[in-house]
């Protein structure tokens, strides 16, 4: 009971980074390198994309561990959402919420427990609008394409790569920030 209560508390950034590093190091001891964008490539291969495209002619069996890891993440997401959420959700900076509200985003009054995502973009009712689909599809394509082109995503570059002091990962991180800053400051304000 007490342990559950303890796990439900919000985590600070220092501890958060520490446990993420532990996951990366644990996978190294299993003989694997932490990097989730490879699972996207593997799923494309499994779907048959390797017939015509050399990029997907890979040994998907060597990635079975990663697909299992991804399945675990899905399970962990469910466990966390069901048992481990804090009573009060993320306390988002008032300036961020104000910026979004001033630009047409209808947000929850506070940012309560389960609202990790804005209903306007991710809610089920929003799916009645074709424009929502277009926004989600645009974001997904950019995220998927960019991760493959850049040779890695958050886990592969910004955790594994930077921890291994790799210059390519630092370059990717810098330009990742440029892209993110443009999206949040200049595109997201005009989506609604």
């Amino acid at each position: 009971m007490n342990l559950l209560h303890l796990l439900q508390q919000p985590w600070g950034w220092l501890f958060s980074g520490f446990v993420i590093a532990l996951v990366m190091l644990t996978l190294l001891f299993f003989g694997n390198v932490f990097g989730l964008s490879t699972t996207y490539r593997t799923i494309c291969t499994l779907a048959g994309a390797g017939k015509n495209i050399p990029f997907f002619k890979m040994d998907w069996r060597a990635q079975r561990w990663n697909l299992t890891f991804a399945a675990g993440i899905i399970l962990g997401g469910w466990i966390a959402a069901t048992f481990l959420l804090a009573k009060n959700g993320p306390m988002i900076a008032p300036a961020t919420l104000e910026f979004l509200r001033n630009n047409g985003w209808t947000l929850d009054p506070a940012s309560p427990n389960n609202a990790f995502l804005p209903p306007q973009l991710f809610g089920e009712e929003a799916l009645l609008h074709i424009s929502t689909w277009l926004k989600l599809i645009m974001g997904g394509i950019l995220s998927g394409f960019g991760a493959q082109y850049g040779g890695g995503c958050t886990s592969g570059h910004f955790v594994s790569g930077l921890s291994n002091l790799q210059l390519p990962s630092l370059i990717t991180l810098l330009f990742f920030f440029v892209g993110g800053i443009i999206m949040s400051n200049f595109i997201i304000p005009h989506l609604f």
């Binding site: 190091l25 959402a81 988002i92 394509i141 890695g152 999206m183």
Partner: protein, 136 residues
């Protein structure tokens, strides 16, 4: 049984992504609007502890559980792919997040994430199809 450990560590990572609030869309906006230090702090912390761990592994020449030496193949240096790919990935990340986040949110029953996931797979496919024509 060989794969059970990945399921366990994966579950822990799904819990971690939730508890660190890395799956919060609002946190991503805070990051890129420079309204909060949190995600920058998390990345700095992860990299610091990660780098210390990898330095120890290399110094002591530690092996993995199967007795093989632990190696991280360095990413090949290249002129175009990291700036352009990183930039495009940042655009997408700020709007719909990254693979780890997608898997976590699927576990939380967010239906619209399936659209994001399929689109990300489509983006992956488009890269694979155009790969030879893109500057790397």
């Amino acid at each position: 049984m060989k794969y059970l450990k990945y399921l366990v560590v994966g579950s822990l990572f799904g819990i971690i992504l939730t508890k660190t609030e890395m799956i919060s869309w609002y946190r991503w906006q805070e990051l890129f609007l420079f309204d909060s230090f949190r995600i920058v702090g998390i990345i700095l912390s992860a990299v610091t502890f990660g780098a210390i761990g990898i330095a120890i592994i290399k110094k002591l020449k530690l092996n993995d559980i199967y007795g093989n030496s632990i190696q991280i193949e360095p990413k090949k240096m290249s002129r175009y792919r990291y700036p352009i790919g990183g930039f495009i990935f940042g655009l997408g990340w700020a709007l719909v997040g990254c693979p780890g986040v997608h898997y976590t949110l699927i576990g939380q029953g967010v239906v619209s994430i399936f659209i994001v996931l399929f689109s990300a797979l489509l983006g992956t496919f488009i890269y694979g199809a155009l790969r030879t024509r893109l500057p790397h």
